[in-house]
Structures are given as structure tokens and as C-alpha cells.
Symmetry: C2
Subunit: 430 residues, 2 copies
């Protein structure tokens, strides 16, 4: 972008802004898209001008408060238009969003997107394309919506060496689990989340951990400076967590949250997503409802915590408009080199294992024997009173061990016909 000199008083001043406003086309006018338009209409930030809205069946999307906007169903025309400087891609998913973004960047336009999947899987390639063609790609809205984690890392923590991160990155899971903590049933609260619009009709992307995984992969690149294939991070669904687990967790001074975590030790990378036991004294336990939270642990600066509203139209739109303002002001990303890496290492952490058994003598001996054969040390065995003998839940917690060793131990228990369902094992965050 040019940096013309403007005259202030009698002295020539370097003026970092474009004199001509950035002309913006929104692709996808759903909740976030209309919030972006709403903020632009109400706040009228200097240097930004909404000129186009593309959506299928755009006539039902048209609003009367967005003046001077061309409403269109012709994506090609907008992408080809020399009258548009920035595409705001809010359609989500890999296709057709990916091809719009690619075409926009190829023609030298800049792109602002909230598309975590696209950035997690193709971010590196798209950033390279942007650099080649002279445009910019910004995606502050892709992770943790209205919480400025991405600008915080890029602009404020670039001087540190971040070694570990834990995040609550999916508002739907946090809503479900924090409601379950308060006594609600999984199925009921999932339906409630769907009714409130927090969860999709097919909730797999959220409750299965795929959404959080994509966000974790993006943060790993920026914070840990490792480029990983998101599919190497195996997510665990939250659906197996039951009311009894919250009860046992409480006895252990914990609650349960869907946590996305990663660490880099001597260049070795570990990463995982799933429901975990979280100490009640950890900030992660304080997050309620659809809140998001990210904790970054720096070699020099120690822990930094960000929290706030990670989803929803307005918070996500704040991130989009902030990215647009950064583009308009000529702010460059502080782009630090990330190295390709495999997710090759396991966390060695304590685990919580909950069994549901048809009780008979010798069960504890068999289970503890199976753990001992993998050299896993038992920390505690807990059995609450008040459950029927033919469907008895009990819990074993174990000292830090590799997930693979624990999986082998659990596998070897499969033949025990007293187990009414596969044991549930959860990492314990300490």
C-alpha cells in the first residue's frame, strides 16, 4: 500500500493510512456477516467502506441500514472487480470458501476470514500466495472470536518462546460441560444448545473436537512456531462424559472441560484435544457458558491468560473489523518462521479412569494388575456409595503415564466380562 505524505501544519508528516478507504466485500451474510456490516454502519470507522455483500439468495438477506452496498449473487463478478480491495470470507468450510479466498489473493486483493478450517489446513499456502501477490491474509476471527489471542501472540508475545498452551477453544463444548457441572444431562443440554443456536443440528464438529483441533493447529503455528497437519491431532469426543464423572471430579478438586493443549519440548511436539479433568484452582475451571480461554506459557514471560466471548456474531465481528482496521492502517503481521513438525510425542500426565462394572470379587485386583503390567502407578481408587452392585461406577486415578501405555492396559481389560462399557479415561491437567 502506498504511504503518501500528508501535510500537517507546515511540516511534512508520514501518513501510514491510505487516503482512499478500503473497499470491502462480505462473502456470507449470516450472523457474523451482518454483525460486521452493523458495526461498520454504526461505528463508521475511518478508512473502511462496505461496498458489496455476496450471498446465495441475497434478496432475503438485504437490510435497509447498510447504505450504498451492492447486494449480489455473482461471486465471480465481485472477485474480479477492481472496485473491491478486501474480501471478508465468512462462509466457512473448505469449499467454495477456499477457492474464493485463493482467487481474491491471486488477484492481489487482501482477505480477512474467520474460517478456522481453511486456515488450519491451508493457511501456510494462502499466506505465501498473499505475499507473492502483494495482498494480506488476516484471520484474527478464526480462533477465540472476540478475544485478541492472535494479535496478542503476533504483536505482544513474539519476543518470548512459548513452550506450552492450553485452551478452551469451543464455546459449544464449554456450554455443555459447564451446564453438566451444574447438574444438567448431556442429551438435554445438547438439545438446549441446539435450540439456542450454540450447536449445529449435526454437532460432531464441535463435540467431536474437530473445531477445537483446527483452532489449536492455528495457535500452534503462531505460538509454538510449528506447522503441523491438523489430522495428526486425534480429538476425543465429550459425549462419553457422564454426570458421575463430574461428581468424582469434584471429589478430586476438579471439574471437566474440553481442553485443547500442545507443548514443544526440545523440538518434540505433543498436542491433543478432548475432555479433561481441570483443577478447580486453574483459570480453565473458571470459564463458564460459551466462554473461550487461552493460556500461553512462555519461557521468559511465564503464563499469560486471555478469556472472553469466543463465538457469536458480535464478538467475531469485532475481530473481523479489527483486522480490517489493521489492513487500512498498513499494519503488517509480525511473521515468525514456523518449522514443519510431526505430532509425535505423547503427554505424560496423570489420568482419571472411570469403570462401570457388574460387581463381583476380584475386579479391582484384575484392573490394578493390568495397570501394573504396564508399570502404571495408581494414585487413588475411589468408589462412591449408593450405586447398585450390578451397575457400579468406580474410579482409579494414576500417576503420570503415556496414553499409549494406558491404552494397552485398558485394552487388556477388554476380556473382563464384568465391564458394562469401555472404561472412560481422561487426562488430568495439573
Amino acid at each position: 500500500m502506498p504511504e503518501p505524505n500528508a501535510s500537517v501544519g507546515s511540516i511534512s508528516v508520514q501518513e501510514p493510512r491510505n487516503l482512499r478507504p478500503l473497499r470491502i466485500a462480505i462473502f456470507g451474510f449470516g450472523t457474523v456477516g451482518s454483525s460486521v456490516a452493523r458495526i461498520l454502519a454504526e461505528s463508521k470507522p475511518e478508512g473502511l467502506q462496505l461496498t458489496h455483500v455476496y450471498n446465495r439468495g441475497v434478496s432475503r438477506k438485504r437490510v435497509d441500514w447498510a447504505a450504498g452496498v451492492t447486494w449480489t449473487e455473482d461471486a465471480d463478478a465481485v472477485l474480479a472487480s477492481p472496485e473491491v480491495d478486501v474480501i471478508v470470507e465468512l462462509a466457512g468450510g473448505l469449499d467454495p470458501a477456499g477457492s474464493w479466498v485463493r482467487r481474491a489473493l491471486e488477484s492481489g486483493k487482501s482477505v480477512v476470514t474467520a474460517n478456522k478450517k481453511l486456515i488450519a489446513f491451508h493457511g501456510v499456502e494462502l499466506e505465501r500466495l498473499a505475499a507473492i501477490r502483494g495482498g494480506h491474509l488476516k484471520y484474527g476471527a478464526a480462533v477465540a472470536g472476540g478475544i485478541p489471542v492472535i494479535p496478542g501472540i503476533e504483536q505482544g508475545l513474539a519476543g518470548d518462546r512459548i513452550e506450552r498452551m492450553e485452551g478452551i477453544l469451543n464455546g459449544t463444548c464449554n456450554f455443555i460441560l459447564s451446564q453438566m457441572e451444574a447438574g444438567a444431562d448431556y442429551g438435554m443440554v445438547l438439545s438446549q444448545a441446539q435450540a439456542k443456536g450454540y450447536a449445529e443440528a449435526d454437532p460432531t464438529e464441535d463435540v467431536g473436537g474437530f473445531d477445537a483441533r483446527a483452532k489449536l493447529a492455528i495457535l500452534m503455528r503462531l505460538a509454538l512456531r510449528v506447522e503441523v497437519n491438523p489430522e495428526e491431532i486425534i480429538p476425543r469426543a465429550i459425549g462419553d462424559v457422564a454426570a458421575i464423572d463430574f461428581s468424582y471430579a469434584k471429589d478430586l478438586g476438579c471439574t471437566i472441560r474440553q481442553v485443547a493443549r500442545a507443548q514443544k519440548t526440545d523440538g518434540q511436539v505433543a498436542a491433543t484435544v478432548g475432555p479433561m479433568l481441570v483443577d478447580l484452582r486453574s483459570p480453565l475451571a473458571w470459564s463458564r457458558g460459551t466462554e473461550n480461554m487461552v493460556i500461553l506459557s512462555g519461557h521468559y514471560g511465564g503464563d499469560v491468560v486471555f478469556s472472553g466471548h469466543g463465538a457469536g456474531g458480535h464478538p467475531t465481528a469485532v475481530a473481523v473489523v479489527s483486522d480490517l482496521l489493521a489492513l487500512a492502517h498498513g499494519s503488517r503481521r509480525v511473521e515468525l518462521p514456523a518449522a514443519r513438525a510431526k505430532v509425535a510425542v505423547e503427554f505424560e500426565v496423570p489420568h482419571y479412569i472411570r469403570f462401570l462394572v457388574d460387581d463381583r470379587p476380584g475386579i479391582v485386583a484384575e484392573i490394578t494388575g493390568a495397570l501394573a503390567r504396564e508399570r502404571i502407578n495408581i494414585r487413588a481408587i475411589m468408589q462412591k456409595a449408593g450405586y447398585p452392585q450390578h451397575a457400579l461406577p468406580f474410579v482409579v486415578t494414576v500417576e503420570p503415564c503415556k496414553s499409549s501405555a494406558l491404552q494397552r492396559a485398558l485394552e487388556s481389560m477388554r476380556s473382563m466380562d464384568c465391564l458394562l462399557e469401555p472404561p472412560l479415561d481422561l487426562q488430568m491437567l495439573e
Copy 2:
């Protein structure tokens, strides 16, 4: 800064970085200065080169692990040197730091500083000078040390309209008050903080609220977009808070923290710094030790919380090095216009008032009468058992009222000879 084109493969790529590294001179080689040098020596971030260290009596500062550095006592020579691109000012205070910064900016150099006082009082003028001469002024380290609040606001929340902020901005006060919460005595814990280096020999700047006030004024400009004279914010010292106040606060579901808060309502600005009652469910109550925390409430995005280590050599140095990297990568500030404003409005919040009396009949009637004359509604009257009648503490909490009305009511109680000391009134954050 020039943006030369570099060639990658066969395609010309826009390269936002300078090819020549930024040459850095550190002014002030204390804890933070040596941490900055340490990070540069260990991490060797691309594009940054430490070339000079200025300090009085520099020979006793010299370290053997910082290669290629010129150690000097000649500030003028460094400021005049065409071999230096950026001054990192870590001396603090208005003078001589201010004149170094001014001279550096006048000669077109950039400046990175952790000097909250200088930025609070002269930031606007210095930014203007930087813009005129083509340099940049960055001060991410001036507020909340290693927590990226300033880049978070500038780059990630520029799209919101922030209406309210509350912060724990002084680690020394937070250390003292969180230790008092755990039962320590003010004088003892202040001595301990001085021994640990958390507090200065003269602790007025910290415990009197002046340090937090400067930081609040800086954040108000960036977040609320109002330029205020810091001296219009009247700080309250934490020294009047006693053990008994923590005990009553706990009964009220609260603790006590030094809070810096500001809000803008219809263009009217309120701001204050001092010890306040904080609900135990508020994130502000979770901060322990020297931690800092900032809560920003946006019109669109809701509350965003940042927390972490606000002080100390390494965390502050992370902010300094991050600012240096942003300069090296050509990242521009997203500079939003701030309007001059007076701190003219009072908060209307509930108050906690603690009396210490030589008990006799009629005291409560007199006190409640004085409050009633100012139309202040009483919320609760609390008196704990176990105190002697001649030095009896008791507490009155009142519904939201203006501080000025409460001050008039307290003033009218001055003539009551049963009051052993002036009542302590604290705002209650809700």
C-alpha cells in the same frame, strides 16, 4: 522503512522486513535492560542487533555474554550516532529519559520504552513527534509488562467500542493485598515486598496509586479513546486497609484489591484508582501475588480478560523485544483518534464504610442520619463480635451513590468524638 522486493523462486515477493537488522541501543541496564539483552543473546531473533548499552558507571554493568556491544557512558554520542536505529529507554521517570526519547525521535530514530510515566504525561506529544520525523514510538511494556494488553487493544479490539475497563495494574499492591487476604499484616508484607524487590524503598508511587494511575491513563487513551490529564485521576492509597476489612469483605463475598477503573458513558469520563471491594466471583479476585489483570468491556464483544505477570525483568523484556520485532517487521500501530476529555464524572457505585468507634448509645443513629441527609440508602450494617467496646469496628454498606455525596456525609460525621479515626470508605465493584 523501505520495503525492498526480494526474489523467492522465480516470483518477485514483497518482503516486509528490512534486510539490514535494526541496530538497538539500550538506555538503562537494570533488571529489564539486562533481560532484554539476555533474550536477544539467547533467542537471536532475526532482524534485531544489540549494538550499544548506555548506563552511568557502565563498567560495573558489563556482561560477557552480550557479544559485539559497545558499553558507554556517553548518551549524547549514542543519540547522535547514525549507527543506531532504535533507542530502548528503560531508565524510567520523566528526566533525563524524556529528553533522550525526544532527541532520539527528533533525529528520526524509533523508540521502544517501558516508561509509563513518560507515556502517560507526554505520549501524545511524543507520538506526534515520531510521526513528523518518520520514526516510531512503541510502549507495550509500559502497561502490564508481559501481558499483551496494548497490542491486543490496538490490533484486536480496534473494531469494538470499549466502554469500561477495570485493571489490576500494580503488582506491588496486588502482592501486598493478596498477602493481607491470607492473613499478613500491611507493614510486615510491605517490608517483605521491599526485601524481595517488589517494592521501592519509598513505596509511595506504588501503594499511593500513582503508578497504576499512569497506566490507567495510557489504557484510557487506547481503549476508551480519551486523552486525559493523569493528574485529574485522584488515587487512593492502600495503606488504610486493615485486616478487619478483609474479614468484613469476606463476609460480603468479596476481597480487596487495588483497582484502576474507567468508563465512558455518552462521552462523559469517570476514572479512579484505589483499594476496592471485589466480588470473589470476579476474575479480579483471582489475581494473586504480583499478577496483573485487565478487563475490557466492549459494546459489541463483551468482556475480554487479560492476565499474567505484569512486572519483573523477563516479562517486561518480552514486551520490549516484541515491540522491537514489530518495528523490524514494519508493523504499524493501528492508531485510532482519541479525543481530549476531562475526568468529570463520578462513579455511582455501592460503598463499604468501616468505622472504628469508642462505643456509646446513639452512634448508629447519628451515622445513619448523616447518610440519610445525603439521600444515601443503607444496604447493610454489620458488627462482628469479639472486639472491645472502646475500639469497636463496624461496617455500613450503602447502595450506589456518588462519592461526593458520601464524602459530604462522612465530613458531617467528623464532629462525632466517638470516631477513633476517619471512616474508611471503599468502592464496591459489582
